[in-house]
């Protein structure tokens, strides 16, 4: 592929023609589609997802494929744009003739594609976060990532165990922060916890001291929770320690990456957050049933790409493996049969946790999917 860079014009055209011919003549393969945000603002999701799918489809084919046939993966780059995703979904169904679909990186793109797969009767495993994808349940639609609501529940469970009942909330106004804030407000009552201060900040704000000062003055404050994504939470964490809060700070799974600790520095000490087991793969005790899966995926991905593993690629791994196992159980490439088997997935151990799907749960994860972490000495450590 590298020599194509040097003589772009003609060579690229020829290569393209060859690829066209290649896909046209390849027979007896099982076609799987994916439309991912490989480029654009959501590429931090789509890029590791696409790499993971390509990596593991190659590996599965080397090991003899599925039901004696090779898998053929068709990936399109929708850039996170819902309209493009919808077009690619139509193309995958109508033109490429896929039997199943993995991916949709963003909630918007996924929701735009849902009607295409519902109409065509082809199973679609989404890699996007929001709970609307599977609630209400749609016949052919599944998803692998845990939801924001589960992150809220995990945090509130931990708070309750520590005897915390009055909390402040400061959330970002981006898609992630907004969605998680409303999910947290929805479930907070179930835990006997009261939100005594509710503040927000914009995605580009560089100082959250005023909002935090408001929260600090709330009566009987016992903890603060910060649903947010990107660098906002790092700034909140810095301001939080500058203002000398003496109650614990909870961050969301949205900041579960090393760069958060780098940005927040010493202020991050003692911050708790729910995160995927992938983040602490090596720190899990050997007795942990998830350890083999997460360390296996982590080393495979990092060896092949030379990039640090992310939970998003893990969602793609889970989606592909759930699909492959369903196809093996079904013993055919009939989309309806595959759908039925995906729905019967039970005790599947993925990077996100144990998956047990049913007719009214197309996600199948429980709260054990999340690990509660605390940042100690500039590194993650398991709380449980």
């Amino acid at each position: 592929m590298t020599n194509m860079k040097t003589c772009l014009g003609g060579a690229a055209l020829l290569a393209g023609a060859a690829m066209f011919a290649g896909t046209a003549t390849a027979a007896e393969t099982i076609k799987i589609g994916a439309s991912l945000a490989v480029t654009g603002p959501a590429s931090f999701l789509g890029d590791p997802e696409a790499k993971t799918l390509e990596l593991y489809v190659d590996q599965i084919n080397k090991d003899g494929g599925v039901n004696g046939k090779e898998l053929e993966l068709i990936v399109y780059d929708d850039g996170g744009n819902a309209n493009k995703a919808r077009t690619f979904a139509t193309r995958l169904v109508e033109d490429d003739g896929i039997v199943a679909m993995v991916g949709g990186s963003t909630t918007g793109a996924t929701m735009a594609m849902v009607p295409v797969f519902e109409d065509a009767g082809i199973p679609f495993i989404s890699l996007a976060g929001a709970v609307v994808i599977i609630d209400p349940v749609k016949e052919f639609i599944f998803k692998t990532p845990h939801t924001d609501r589960m992150a809220c529940e995990k945090i509130f469970t931990d708070m309750k165990a520590r005897g915390i009942a009055r909390i402040g909330m400061i959330s970002g106004t981006g898609g992630f922060g907004k969605s998680m804030r409303s999910q947290c407000l929805d479930v907070v009552g179930n835990y006997g916890i009261e939100i005594v201060a509710d503040e927000t900040y914009g995605p580009k704000d560089s100082d959250m001291t005023p909002q935090l000062t408001n929260i600090k003055s709330a009566d009987g404050l016992q903890a603060v929770i910060n649903p947010g994504f990107g660098q906002g939470p790092a700034i909140v964490t810095r301001n939080y320690s500058q203002l000398g809060f003496d109650v614990p700070l909870y961050q969301s799974h949205g900041v579960a990456s090393k760069s958060f600790i780098d940005l927040a520095g010493d202020s991050a000490e003692g911050v708790r957050l729910p995160a995927s087991a992938l983040l602490v793969a090596e720190k899990l005790p050997d007795s942990d049933p998830q350890k083999a899966v997460v360390t296996g995926y982590k080393s495979t991905y990092e060896d092949a790409t030379g990039q640090p593993v992310s939970t998003f690629g893990g969602h793609a791994y889970d989606g592909l493996m759930i699909l492959v196992e369903a196809m093996k159980r079904a013993g055919s490439e009939d989309p309806a049969a595959i759908r039925d088997e995906i729905e019967k997935t039970s005790d599947f151990m993925g990077t996100a946790g144990v998956v047990n799907m049913s007719a009214d749960d197309h996600l199948g994860l429980d709260l054990s999917a999340f690990r509660m972490l605390e940042i100690r000495d500039g590194d993650w450590s398991l709380v449980e």
């Binding site: 819902a82 139509t90 193309r91 109508e94």
Partner: protein
């Protein structure tokens, strides 16, 4: 033949023939969908071309109107149980009113200043759409209820192919009539020289606002059509990149050419689908082709080719 081609109705007729002919040639729903997306984009581009190509005013915020039209058919039926067609109409009226109100002060600006002002306006609408989550669903977008008409549900790629194709023909027909009217002549006059136009007794400010309103309504209707076709809207329909895409379609197809608008839309919608075969080189090739088109066919595809054919004939 030349006399026939120069007739006012030739352009919408050609477009109608293309729509009908393509319907026989396209093999699957995927192609029908891509064609429907071309018709929708072309409709918005024709409106923008009236503003840019005929009146010579730039707008870098047209996706704002497009987005308003799209969200009108999503929000109004959901909140007020309005029929989608009525919602599209309300959206178009709202866009026209907004264009009328902001048009007067904005269109006093010229060149770069006008570009920046319209850009700011577009970004403002995009921000409002992604921030007012209680109304618009925020950055994740919101669903659009399917359109029913006398108990018949509009769904399926083929239905929408015909609906959007019909809209485009009507849009093109209105546009050629407008261009041939005194308003059209006034617009071209102020494109060439505002001072000369004013001397000739043309109310420059009024005509500018008028064409701005018309182009906003075109964008709004196109946006409504896209929302109904997709059954789902996201804030990207209103964002800055989409505005740039619309402007690019106008320039590539040819400023001041209705057929060019369709050609520009077709190229920018279809090319990315063709180029997916090149995987990671997709975006590079798209950029390269745009550059080549602009260097070789300097005044846009349709006007450049038309000039070429005319020169050959002589």
């Amino acid at each position: 033949m030349p006399a026939l081609l120069s007739h006012r109705l030739a352009v919408p007729l050609v477009i109608a023939l293309v729509v009908v002919a393509l319907s026989f040639a396209l093999p699957s729903n995927f192609y029908l969908r891509v064609a429907a997306l071309v018709w929708i984009s072309a409709l918005a581009v024709i409106g923008l071309n009236l503003l840019m190509g005929y009146a010579g005013q730039v707008s870098l915020g047209h996706a704002g109107f497009f987005g308003l039209g799209a969200y009108a058919v999503a929000v109004l039926p959901a909140q007020f149980a309005l029929h989608p067609l009525l919602a599209a109409l309300v959206g178009a009226v709202i866009c026209g009113l907004i264009a009328f109100v902001v048009g007067r002060p904005i269109l006093k600006l010229k060149g770069h200043y006008l570009a920046v002002a319209t850009l700011g306006f577009g970004i403002l609408i995009a921000m409002a759409i992604s921030n007012e989550a209680w109304l618009t669903g925020g950055p994740d977008g919101m669903p659009v209820s399917r359109m029913t008409l006398f108990g018949w549900r509009a769904r399926g790629a083929e239905t929408w192919y015909w609906i959007t194709g019909g809209l485009l023909v009507v849009g093109a027909w209105i546009a050629v009539n407008l261009v041939a009217s005194p308003t059209g002549r006034a617009l071209r006059a102020l494109h060439d020289s505002e001072v000369a136009a004013r001397v000739a007794g043309i109310d420059v400010a009024r005509y500018k606002v008028r064409v701005f309103v018309i182009s906003a309504v075109y964008a709004s209707v196109a946006g409504s059509a896209l929302a109904l076709v997709n059954g789902f809207v996201t804030p990207e329909t209103a964002n800055f990149m989409h505005s740039i895409e619309l402007v690019t379609m106008v320039v590539v197809g040819g400023m001041g050419s209705i057929l060019g608008s369709v050609a520009g839309a077709a190229i920018l919608v279809v090319l990315p689908q063709v180029l997916t075969a090149f995987h990671e080189y997709e975006h590079m090739l798209l950029g390269l082709m745009m550059m080549v088109i602009m260097i070789v066919l300097r005044s846009g595809i349709v006007p450049s080719l038309a000039a070429l054919i005319q020169r050959r004939r002589k």
